[in-house]
Symmetry: D2
């Protein structure tokens, strides 16, 4: 159980997401509002894209709490990026607070982070690993449920790699990969006879597109909280970064476990939906069936 924030839009200084907002992610690391346990102090991670320097995102991980990490404050002040995934962790008891267990997880151009958990994960672990191709299998270096879900996602990406390169609507392709990932997790759970519910708010991105799920198999729950905001919430950052006027008018999208600000523009993501983001376009909401199938 954790909290996360994903940003896609014109370059933004990280501190504007992580530190400055009234209810920033660092604030949520100490005192989240929409979890029973307000504390997310078991390390954190930030992944961001620097398109002029690398196609692959950079990831900064730490096992110390986000609220006291001086390196995070320094970075947040001088790094700007058009695509940011940030995560504060509340470790599931028994999963170690290790660098290898920090979100977001990275593979080539993709990042993934998770808020939620798989119930009875030890019963699922082998079933998740078994069908993986070697590259996805060997990507697993830690012990979290999330990293195993990520390996399934990587496996999906690899299976469709060639087709996806040529396909139109890459954001929808990414949504399909995430939905298929969820489906495989649910199938493994069913095969293992696990009855207890799963909570799977997952955020993935390749720097250009991003998809975030609000999903649970718990009929009694709406799933973990998730909000989306589009527009110029923060004062324009275009001038600051010397961006062109056109880029300045491009709206930004933020998907976050909790609302960063009191702005009324935050909308709750409905239960069992995907939010699909693309630079320069409005967020799309796609419903998921009970088995996580995309109805499109």
């Amino acid at each position: 159980m954790c909290r996360f924030t994903l940003y896609l839009g014109p370059s933004i200084r990280l501190s504007k997401l992580l530190i400055e907002p009234e209810h920033s992610l660092i604030h949520q690391s100490v005192r989240s509002k929409e979890r029973r346990e307000p504390l997310n102090g078991d390390g954190f991670g930030v992944g961001w894209y620097a398109p002029r320097l690398s196609r692959e995102p950079a990831v900064f991980h730490s096992v110390t709490p986000a609220w006291s990490d001086r390196n995070l404050r320094e970075l947040s002040r001088v790094v700007a990026s058009p695509c940011v995934l940030a995560h504060v962790r509340a470790a599931t008891p028994g999963f170690g607070v290790d660098l290898a267990n920090c979100h977001p997880f990275a593979w080539r151009r993709h990042l993934l982070m998770h808020n939620g958990y798989l119930n009875e994960f030890t019963r699922l672990r082998r079933r998740l690993l078994e069908p993986l191709c070697d590259e996805a299998f060997n990507r697993v270096r830690g012990s979290t449920d999330t990293e195993h879900v990520f390996a399934v996602f990587v496996d999906q990406l690899l299976r469709h790699e060639k087709a996806d390169e040529r396909a139109p609507d890459p954001a929808l392709r990414l949504a399909e990969r995430l939905a298929a990932t969820l489906q495989r997790v649910l199938a493994a759970s069913q095969a293992a006879g696990v009855q207890a519910p799963h909570y799977l708010n997952l955020a993935v991105s390749n720097g250009q597109q991003a998809v975030v799920s609000r999903f649970t198999t718990d009929p009694a729950s709406e799933g973990d909280s998730l909000y989306v905001l589009q527009g110029q919430l923060y004062e324009t950052t275009a001038q600051e970064f010397g961006q062109r006027a056109q880029e300045e008018r491009e709206p930004a999208s933020i998907v976050s476990s909790e609302r960063l600000t009191p702005a009324r523009a935050w909308a709750a993501v409905p239960r069992n939906h995907l939010v699909v983001l693309e630079r320069g376009a409005a967020p799309r909401l796609l419903p998921l069936g009970a088995g996580a199938e995309l109805a499109h």
Copy 2:
């Protein structure tokens, strides 16, 4: 602002203080009850005496939160000691979360830890350092108010070193050194013209005796919470450690920022008092004057 626990008595397994009690120090690191801010996640420290192996205590410090530290859990399970000082830290904003800033602070046979803070410490720092002898001065390696108070305490110990060796009632001698430390801090504060109040719950020990203050210059406050317990709260540990029957009957004393258990035997330490502990004897309470002078 932090939480601490001091134990003096027959050897006790550290986990019985730090982990097992309903409201153990590790529990207080996540959710303390008697502070406005319940979180003490900015590192921790444990100091303990191993009399058969060393006259000088050992100190284990970490900048990660106590609740997730596996090394602390391992140590707590296999280390037993007759004198333990343990501390979870909530760093005063601006003081770094650094190993050098973790309590307890050690010098030769002595340990000191602190719950509270000196207001306007940057105005006091030079005045505290100036009169120190070189050895006490060079003991300062970090930036906390506490470590500077500790240097004053070390200076007091060094000034009275020879006399204290031959003096009767070493626990009372230790109380005098702590009271004089408080007095010097207050004098420095007055000389600097600092009006704002100070909060100085300090615990010191040499492994045989221990003294803990509940002290504040704030007329509107009782000082930070502090409790003392004497007796066989925990099931006897004598058998476990092969202790002699006599030792088994020796009562233990615990002084703690918060009550570790719901037992009725916990007594609140009155405002501006010292608790003086000695192996095998009942705790003594000594009142302190407004200037921290011992009235004896």
Copy 3:
């Protein structure tokens, strides 16, 4: 590629193994003599048994270099133990420097540490995991070759658990479990078609018995260096710990990647042998066949 030291005998202060000897393990962390690369600075670990307090050993792990770790120095001064396994790590490139990857690995009463590596481990990983029982499988939390070998060893222990409880010569039983572990690793390697050689100096213990292998499949190599010493190398520690006279006369055994002292009593362990240790008995040397089968 790492360095390790295992001790079994009358209680010894850890510093006498890790710090004080001329060529102590901490010294080897900076400047090992018998590896091409002298540096072992990618974290360390110490496991030790405290029989009066727990049947299960304690483990202290750190990702910082052993030479500068203050907690290790403090612990080493005040902890004494009859059975110690200590390890300084030189991470194989690509395996992260993570707490979960630090040796020794622990499971119930057993510890294991490793000096060497499995070639082409990514080709072996799945084959090692597949036949494991669930408990052994779920023990894997990191990404090292060693932890996977440990899981095979745990699987062996579990398979023979009941029989081993009643069996005579528990040290020989432990040797059989380690030899079978090696055999399974070699079989997996052969099945995967890996030709490159493996280096498997492994040390295991349950606190009462210990077994250490010097083993390699490289026909051109003697295997990584390994030495054994029996006797009162260090001044007697019996007095220090209040041990009985009988215990004082009990010889200690040390098996170490490099000789800790210039004493002539250190003997090189021959290639492809096990050293079998038991409290109060002289070390036994058992030869291993090319497939790691015990010839007894």
Copy 4:
């Protein structure tokens, strides 16, 4: 005793300084060539300027060795900067490996890092602190000789703050501040009667100008090694960062404890000299007298 590298010129990707060169700073952290002790594994730090985002530099510090730090590798790949100061530390025994002790030290727009040490620093510490203004005094948060020298430098900056704002040739002004810092350190040493020599290779910058000293009071030594290079050592980075053609032709300067590459263009800085750097200009060499006075 440490190793450092300072870069001033068109924006460069950090990895081109820290990782890619044959004898990069990360390589020097494991195996420096021009120190008796090749190891610099006691933490590291990188300070860099991001002029479009902040006037004040960012600093990334870690107590783990540079060679294994994944965050450093990630950052180096996606951060580009026109002014970089990077440092790998070999802690003087007794000075803790703490974040507060990592170089470079930062104050407002200035950074400072050090290769060398002050002999008998504990005898100098009070004399260095005493004359400082409060702001410089309170900047000291750790225990290194370097941070105390930095406080003297900050004190010099503050004393000349107003005059320096209007003064021509800001690089020369910075050189004067550094020379005066050295002079005050030498005066304190003389007043304390310290005879043993000091080693003071210091690098300072404000992002636009930089000054580096090679200085020692040891008549038998040339001082710690120091080299300067000007020109297009690395393939042009202009295209990569979308820099204008003019900027592309601007030469870069690097001052480094050891030569990063085998290029012949590296020149040894003579003993007791300052290297003065300014964007777009050739490095100037200024001799220092025995008392560190600038002869100009």
